[in-house]
Symmetry: C2
Subunit: 369 residues, 2 copies
């Protein structure tokens, strides 16, 4: 099946892996110690056009949930994030940066508020479970921090709503963006959110119960045939064009949320207290030194960006590209990059230092592309 | 190069990856968000015989270090582990289970004591960094918890000592098992330990400074030619035969250290306090319910164990195999398994439920095989 990634129990399979294999997966990534399908029979470009036109089913089980439940649940979560969660409502999804003492990013999950004392953090690739456990144990909080048996399945693309309305009823149409509701499935009640890691619209079903995975996949797959459904995954072209960032790629613990353009999610006026507040206040008062920008560059179809590519202005290194790919729509390479303040203005001409020692000319552009 | 694993910056390359590619790596695993080379040109069996006869160089950079430094460093580490570290000495490596409140295993790192207030935890595959950060922040401890730029390179096999003595001097011969010392390399002082994830002897160089990686690799590689050196990696046959367990495979947070046979590293008499003490005391007084055993079984060369394989006695499921492979030396399959108490005695006849629905007969055996 896959000769580049060596399998073992440690690289966890998902409730949908058997189905993913059946439809011809060609490559995986590993996120949160779990398989993330990343390549199917079509090319990334064919997949890109399909995602923009039809509907896809994505195994995103690796978006593991960190369940935080109990009297101190809200207190623990507020302590972990600069975003004010005080006015959040049940049924709401909130994108929340999680910070370290120095303001560095630990993760950038989506928070789902299930009840006043019950939350899920739908995480990117780092063990937030262990951070939350450590904090809770260290502070002696009255909460349970666990990973429930929840495996998100995404349905993305312009036809996603019609497909899911046909399967689960018209009510799914009423779910607002970044809101969630509940559907009945196989005698169970399952959470569905209007969300997902694309800009093409769609939903994520947070399936609670691995044993139901194949049944859920099959139901969507079969009904999806008349919608021209295909198996898919976060599409690198679509994600970069859409300005969707990836923890571990665009941001690491070396970056703070202000650099990532997440200032609007950082309440720094002292009205809430959280880990890293003082550091972020200092960074803000000293001025943000670098920030994420788009870079549009030529030089032919670029290779995979597996280490940061230096961005130059003359002899000066002014930033790094962290993800890049050829955009068939823009007929140029598109990259996400961290750029020093002096050079981050739109239209700035730059050169990209590619791995093969050739310099490609480019310019700083707005996100999304 | 590798079409089964999709590369990105998030799956971090190591200081040795360029060299690993040069010598023909064919497959990777991902550990601690970093590439672990797992397959080269020879088969696993050829590699097994080579490792037992000659010397190999392994890129084990993914054994990341969690550096804990400061006045409260010893206190934090003791709080994380059931092993009494009070009498540990500078220059010593200690295998320490790290536990959760319920006694579940968070990780099983090697602790290196650099100074009374300065430790490295050389970790298996989970973000111990975030657990330690959470605890330290939650308890308000006076420590720094960081991941230094340290990338272990292992030299394993019966000729490892001769090779490294030739390069770094005769003093390396004096390093005891699970002890470390320092060597001079390229004007720097580097830590070297007599340790490694095989039973064939050898060393691990904890290279501090990624920029020196290729130079270190080249020096060992070139001098190693006359020792019949080859690139390698933890060998699944050798590791299973040797009874070396892997976090995420043989043990997860579902398992406690007593089940893993780590009772000798658990000080449960109340003379030290740590996270999970009460839970482990309860487990001990109620009696350990299951424990790791070897299983020797037939049925022809088994496939990769990527989900636990049930072990049956009659109609009763009595355990699971978590790692398994064909042993060319024993001419049978060897497996590591968690077995219920009633059935864990040596010589117990069992049946292994393989993925293809065929039952293989086997028996419980001592570890190492």
């Amino acid at each position: 099946m896959s000769d580049g990634l060596n399998m073992s129990r440690r690289i966890r399979r998902t409730p949908y892996t058997s189905r993913i294999e059946k439809v011809g997966v060609r490559g995986f990534s590993v996120v949160n110690h779990m398989l993330l399908p990343k390549a199917f029979q079509p090319t990334v470009e064919e997949d890109y056009w399909h995602l923009r036109t039809h509907v896809q089913i994505w195994d995103v089980s690796c978006q593991r949930q960190v369940e935080i439940k109990g009297p101190d649940a809200g207190r623990l979560i507020q302590w972990m994030t600069p975003r004010d969660i005080g006015s959040s409502k049940i049924g709401q999804c909130l994108y929340i940066p999680i910070t370290d003492v120095d303001g560095g990013l630990i993760n950038d999950p989506v928070l789902l508020k299930l009840a006043e004392d019950h939350f899920w953090l739908s995480i990117a690739d780092s063990d937030v479970l262990l951070y939350a456990k450590g904090l809770s144990i260290g502070m002696g909080l009255d909460v349970i921090v666990e990973e429930p048996d929840v495996s998100p399945l995404a349905v993305q693309g312009p036809k996603a709503e019609d497909l899911l309305a046909k399967i689960f009823g018209e009510n799914v149409r009423d779910i607002g963006f970044f809101k969630f509701d509940w559907i009945d499935f196989a005698g169970t009640r399952q959470l569905i959110a209007r969300s997902g890691y694309s800009r093409q619209g769609g939903f994520e079903i947070y399936l609670n119960g691995s044993h139901l995975g194949e049944q859920l996949w099959d139901m969507i797959w079969e009904t999806g045939q008349s919608f021209n459904i295909s198996p898919g995954c976060p599409n690198l072209i679509e994600r970069i064009e859409g300005g969707l960032f990836s923890y571990g790629n665009e941001m690491t613990r070396e970056n703070n949320p202000l650099e990532i353009g997440l200032g609007k999610y950082c309440k720094l006026d002292g009205s809430i207290d959280f880990i890293g507040l003082k550091s972020l206040q200092n960074i803000l008062s000293e001025g943000i030194k670098r920030q994420i920008r788009g870079v549009l560059f030529n030089g032919g179809r670029c290779t995979t960006c597996s280490t940061p590519w230096p961005i130059m202005v003359g002899d000066k290194k002014v930033g790094d590209i962290t993800s890049a790919i050829w955009s068939p729509r823009l007929e140029a390479n598109v990259g996400l990059s961290m750029i020093d303040r002096e050079f981050w203005k739109m239209g700035q001409i730059v050169a990209v230092q590619m791995p093969e020692n050739n310099l490609a000319s480019g310019k700083i552009v707005e996100l999304p592309f």
